[in-house]
Each structure stands twice: as structure tokens, then as C-alpha cells.
Symmetry: C2
Subunit: 333 residues, 2 copies
Amino acid sequence: MEKILLTHGSGGTLMHKLIDSLFMRELDNPILREKKDSAIVKIGKKSLAFTTDSYVVNPILFPGGDIGSLAVYGTVNDLAVCGAKPLFISLGMIIEEGLDRDLLERIVRSVSLAAKRSGVKVVTGDTKVVERGSCDKVFINTSGIGEICYPGLSVDKIKAGDSVLVSGTIGDHAISVLSKREGISFSSKVKSDSAPLNGLIARALKVSDKVKFMRDPTRGGVATTLNEMVTAGKFGIAIDEDRLPVANGVKAGCELLGFDPLYLACEGRVIIVVQKLHEDKVLRSMRSDPLGRKARVIGRVVKEFPGKVYLETVSGGRRIVGMLSGEQLPRIC
Amino acid sequence: MEKILLTHGSGGTLMHKLIDSLFMRELDNPILREKKDSAIVKIGKKSLAFTTDSYVVNPILFPGGDIGSLAVYGTVNDLAVCGAKPLFISLGMIIEEGLDRDLLERIVRSVSLAAKRSGVKVVTGDTKVVERGSCDKVFINTSGIGEICYPGLSVDKIKAGDSVLVSGTIGDHAISVLSKREGISFSSKVKSDSAPLNGLIARALKVSDKVKFMRDPTRGGVATTLNEMVTAGKFGIAIDEDRLPVANGVKAGCELLGFDPLYLACEGRVIIVVQKLHEDKVLRSMRSDPLGRKARVIGRVVKEFPGKVYLETVSGGRRIVGMLSGEQLPRIC
């Protein structure tokens, strides 16, 4: 009998297969079929973004964040990358019996601060407690509603020649969680990049009407996110290895542990595809935000290799970069 | 150091204390403060209902339902009792590594059927998988958005003299889950009442503009829900013990296990408070719905004992019925 594996939750190929072969098949409707970070729903004449995420990160406290702030920022970012202004979020907590009240307080305070920082209100919630051993400390679900301010962002608008930008160094979140979990420390301390991107994104969309598409590279990392963009098979994406922004601590962690930063989850980074003409404008706007200081062009949309993402390596070669297959890091978010 | 207990998730007094002393304090805002089953949020001129619930029911399959349909109906009902037409729901699943794929398929199909039956669309979702032993089979979060069609339902409108109605027998859900969990069977088989109430509620609101307030008596049961209504201390509620609709199997289960049906969770029942004048009209409307055949007046709003709920017993006495204290049944939903 087929069993569900950790890999089914990794964000990679097995998860995409599970989603297509089960969730999409059973729950099929035009909105779900879009497979955006948020559903775009119409109520009357209003277009809203609606999204959900459950957070099971282990450990629940890590350098640069915790499960509470992560749950808020993750949902805020899923709304923002769809061109929405995040407004309201829900907070569903599943708590393991025996959790320290102080720890719960710390997490709820973190939710509160993160909501204030992101400009959203927590308007509804739910608390469940399960017996010791039936969950691991605490799981959080946040769902969010935003108002669509910039309609029309769509992967269908992407064309060969467009530039691919990332707002900062990649993989910091994954390495921060992993180093804490495994008790490893690197010479350069790595902090999670977990942060709300709605401000940075709104500013980029204000300076340019040539932004085609955005997505935050969470589970599966930049490589998986770019592969999701090319699935329609109309174009390829070339990444310039030389330009990938990777912090020293993340490099060290990857070398030590055998990870590729391209597959590591970020929780406060966004990939923006913009028409070449507006590349500088958008880059400047991103860099003017403290969360985007290290924004860079990392690649471009190409006609060659449609449906593929490839790396132009430092040594001058080319290497196809597939979607994450197998599990690098369970419970990273 | 204070620890979180199972009772903190029971729906009773300890849960209310945790909510007030932690969640309300840290996350305070006017919408959250309303403490409705759904948050009522304004986006532009539109009033929307927004709600969330996590489901951790054990076992995940029980007579009359499963965690999938329960998760849909629970959220649909939380929207409907606030006068909203449920439209869109999200589906967040946390799955334990090793779960049978067939079981997952069964649950997702159940979500799909329940969504169709309720007239809502599942438009966004998330899947996480955690290691064996880090959660118990599967937990589901559903959040929902509805459009407010009947604004103005409010506990503040309730006045002495109003009638208190319930749409059917009480406690069926809790006894169904418990009998399955403990492997007990009663002479009369008890099925969960888990069902979508949006149709029944919309009809009741259509026939009468004198419906003051509604709530579905889930965790903590009818007793706890009525106690939530009287907290402002402006009126009391008298329940007529003689009129409480309790199925034979539930009676048997309660006698055997020492439960009071007033504290048992329902998942397909609604309590409606309506002006006495419209009692018959609303009752007829409810009974015309297959889910409301056994609707009854179970009590009335009174001036005496403000802030209290009391039972007028079969023997002619009076007994104060407090909010659930302590845990009757963990993981009932």
C-alpha cells in the first residue's frame, strides 16, 4: 500500500505529483487550477487574494525568527507576491499538551509584533490542544486575505528577454533552522531571512508597470520556484551562477552538509520577473528597501531550452537545474 | 512553570481564560474583540465573514462523517451563523509520515463532496508532512470567506422574552466519535450530526427579520454556547429540560459514561435566538429542512439570573448550568 513520505511535503517533484494527482483531481475548479501562491477570488466587483499555510518548523525558535513570526510573514508574502495588499489574517494553533505557557506567550507575542510590522490584523483564531506525543510542541496555520491592488501579474506575461531578480541572499532561512536543529554553528552566524515583503513589493510595483510575475522561493528554494515558472514550456530561464547572492555562512553550511543553495528555502525573499527595460528601475526600488539591499539580477528568460531552468556556471558550462527531488530538509517552515 | 493542558482546548472556562489572558491581550483589535464565530471584516464597501478552525478529531473516521467533511462543515457553519453566505475555503493539511495514501484519498474525496454539498469552493491549500510520531495521522485546517447577506445578527439584540431554538438532537457528534474511539457500541447506533447548515440558516433568516443571534454549539456543547451568550450579564437564559432533544443512543451513552448531553459537541446543529412573535415561523422553516426536522424551542431569554443559564428540571427544580469546566472529551473536532 502506498504511504505518504516526508518528501511529499518537501515542495519538490513528489509534492507536485501529489497535488496534481489527488488535490487538483478531487477539488478541481478554475481558481485552484491557477496554482498561485494565493487564490484570486471575486466577491461582487472586488478581487481578493486568499491564501493558507500551515507551519510545522522544527525547532520553533531559530536565529532570526520563530514559528509565530514565520507564520505571519509567510502568509503576508503569499498575498503580496500576487499583487495584493495583505489585510487580515487568521491564526489556528495546534498545541501539544504540556507546552510551557511562557513559550506559548513568546510565540503569540511574536505573532502580534509580526502582524504590526506587516500592517495586518489577526481577526480570527482557533486553539486546539492534543495529547502529549500527538503533535510536536506547536503547529500554526495562518490564512490571509488581501485586496488585489496590482491585477494582471501572471506567468503568462513572461517573455524571452525578461530579467529575473532576487531581493537578497538565498538559503539563509534553511541554514538558520538547520544549524539550530542540529546544533551546528558556522563561523559566520546565519540568521533566517524571514520577513514581510509587502512593502518592498508594493514599491517595486509602483515604480514599474512592467513587472510580469513574482513568487517567493520557499520550500524547494529558487531552483524549484523557477521550475514552477517554466512548466508551461514556452520559455526557459538561464541563471548566472556568478551572480547568485549567497551569504558566507550559507556557503559554509552548504559545503559542510552537501546542500545546494539553489534548493534551500528562503522566507523573506522574492523573485521578480520584469521586462529588461525596467530592470534598473525595479532593482533600485528594491535596494532602497532595507529588506532588498542585496537585490540582484540573477538571470534572464530565454527562448532556448523551453520548460527548463539552467545554470551558466562560473567555469563557463551549462547545467540543467531541475525541481527539487527528494527531501533536503523536512519541517523547514 | 505553567503548562498548557488538554482542558485549554476544551471550549470551556480554561480555554476562554487562555483566549482572554493571552490571545486577546496580545492581538487585541476591535474585530477580534467581537469574539464571533467569524470575524466580520470590511473591504471597501463589502462586508465579509472570515473564520478559521483546525481539526484534530480522533479517530479521523467516525459514524456519520470523517475529519474531511467535518473540516468543511465546521467552517461553513461558522460563516453561516454570522449571517454570511459561505463562498470559499482553504485547506491546510498536516500529514504524518507513513499515512496510507488510500486513507488520504478518502479524506480528500470527503472534503470535495462536502464542499459540493455546501456550495463552497476549495480555492487554496497547503500540505505539510511531518515525521512519524510528530502528529497523529492528519490534522486539517480550513479557513473560510463568506459574504455577509444578513448583517446585524448580534448578541446585543437579545432581549428577555426571546425564544431559544435548537435545530435538532444534541450531542450526537460527540457520542459518535467517542463510541468509535473507545470501541463502545450502544443499542441504538449514534451517527455524528456533522452537516452544513448554511441552507437551513439562510431559509430561517429569509422568513424572519426577528432572528437576533445564532451560534453552533460545538466544543463545550449547548451549555457553553448559551453561557457565551449571557456573559454581558444583561439577561439570563432558562432551558426547559423536558424539551431538550436527545436521541436514545446519546442518552444511553451519557448514562453509561457519565456525560451530560448539554456539554456534548454538536457539529450540525444551530441555536437560534428569535423574537417570541416569530418563533413558530422560524420553527416551521427549520423543520422544512431535512437537517432541522427535530428543531425545537428549548428555552427562553429571561430577566432573572442575568449572566446565568439555568435548567428548569423535569422535577420542577432549577439548576444553574455553568460553562464547561474541565475536559469532557479531548479531540472531539
